[in-house]
């Protein structure tokens, strides 16, 4: 079980787990719940570059389409292939098995702390 309080967050409802120069990225439980049942996840290719706050993927539920914003500048080093085949993992375990991408970043932008993110969503 990942410690949510140690994660970083964005206003676009992504979480980041930082390990050295690699960030593992997913969407928060709050975002997953708002989307409803997720039925399709479109992730970037390994090796592609990401730009802070540019769209790099899509998360579709039965009702709507959510965009995945790159939370850092960098390069995709891994994508969660399991989630592509089992998009419901994003609903069931958004902070664990439902992670989406890993990005090797050059520098970290200013991100939200757990407290700041909780305040943003009115939860916590």
């Amino acid at each position: 079980m990942i410690n949510r309080e140690g994660l970083k967050y964005t206003k676009e409802h992504e979480w980041l787990s930082i390990d050295g120069d690699v960030a593992t990225v997913g969407i928060t439980e709050y975002a997953a719940e708002k989307l409803g049942d997720i039925v399709f996840v479109d992730l970037p290719k390994v090796g592609s570059s990401t730009t802070y706050m540019k769209i790099c993927g899509e998360i579709e539920s039965t009702k709507s389409v959510g965009e995945l914003y790159a939370p850092v500048d960098g390069e995709i080093v891994e994508v969660n292939e399991v989630v592509s085949g089992n998009p419901e993992l994003v609903n069931h375990d958004p902070f664990g098995a439902g992670w989406l991408i890993k990005i090797r970043f050059t520098e970290l932008p200013e991100l939200l702390t757990h407290e700041q993110y909780a305040a943003l969503t009115g939860e916590g």
């Binding site: 399709f40 479109d42 579709e60 039965t62």
Partner: protein, 366 residues
Amino acid sequence: MKSIPLRDKHEALGASFTDFGGWEMPVRYSSDLAEHHAVRESAGLFDISHMGEIFIEGKDAASYLDFALVGAASEIAIGRAKYSLICNQAGGIIDDLIVYRLGQNAFLVVANASNREAVVSAMEERAKGLEVEVRDESDLWVLLAIQGPKSVSILSEITDSLLEDLKYYAISEAELAGVPCLLARTGYTGEDGFEIYIPVESGASVMDAIFAAGKDKGLLPTGLACRDTLRLEAGMPLYGHEMNLEINPFQAGFGKVVRLDKQGDFVGKAALAKLSQVAPEKVLVGLEGSGKRAARADYEVFVEGSTKPVGVITSGALSPTLGFPIAMAYVSADFAELDTPISVDIRGTQTAFRVVKLPFYKRAKN
């Protein structure tokens, strides 16, 4: 935003809410997909109390409805119902309706929530000079819809009425959990089921009784999210998507609902008679794709070699029952034939679909 009478009970059941035509409505309780499958496999209970209940009574009731709507209400047998439309003078669709005949001179007309005011005002206007009363009782009724193959079995636990004898598109008085209700065998999901009109003060007790009766039969509270995918699979149009004031019944595939042959004049007749003589330029079609990406409302539709769109999606989703994307679209009549390959611009990617027959899903008849 307006609230339905049992709003707080739905919150206690775990509902998330959405704004639907100015109403705060339950959108889902647990999971859209689980609720969708429950309706297809066992049963779901929807609260659709936002719908408008308009009672029509008086000596002229039948002939009045023949004048006010495009169908022939006077031909409906007592205790039966018909799908109908209310059009403006130009033949544009103000709303789609269910018309129930409750008695020789008494009808119940059910309108969409977002069109209730427009429908009531048009119906009042059209009643002038006739011996008929148009009574908007929308706030006096709770409307619950139980839908799914277990509906009969569940309701039979709380009523002595012979549910099996109530035919599809029929309505009858019935006592449910001791409460006198109007029970109709209608719905908007493509499954067997009932719509139950309950006096507002008894709504809570009837709802509790239905959930208690359905507890061991897989009954789930179901929200608008799955209602939309269910009706889409069943090829049922939704006002504001497949119909609006700019769309005429012939484009929407409802030519048969317009009874140009009925006696006397009706609102929109002259325009509709003309429209019936020419093939519509665009028509409503069903589309089926492969893969998992849904073509959603307002996405543009193309055919090979066209740089300009030949149509637009009105509703679309990844079908929970079928597992592939389905959609309804208005396309130029030149490309409406079955099996025509169509491509949909899904956020910048041209994605292959083909024209198929509606509905996408039909339940197996027992």
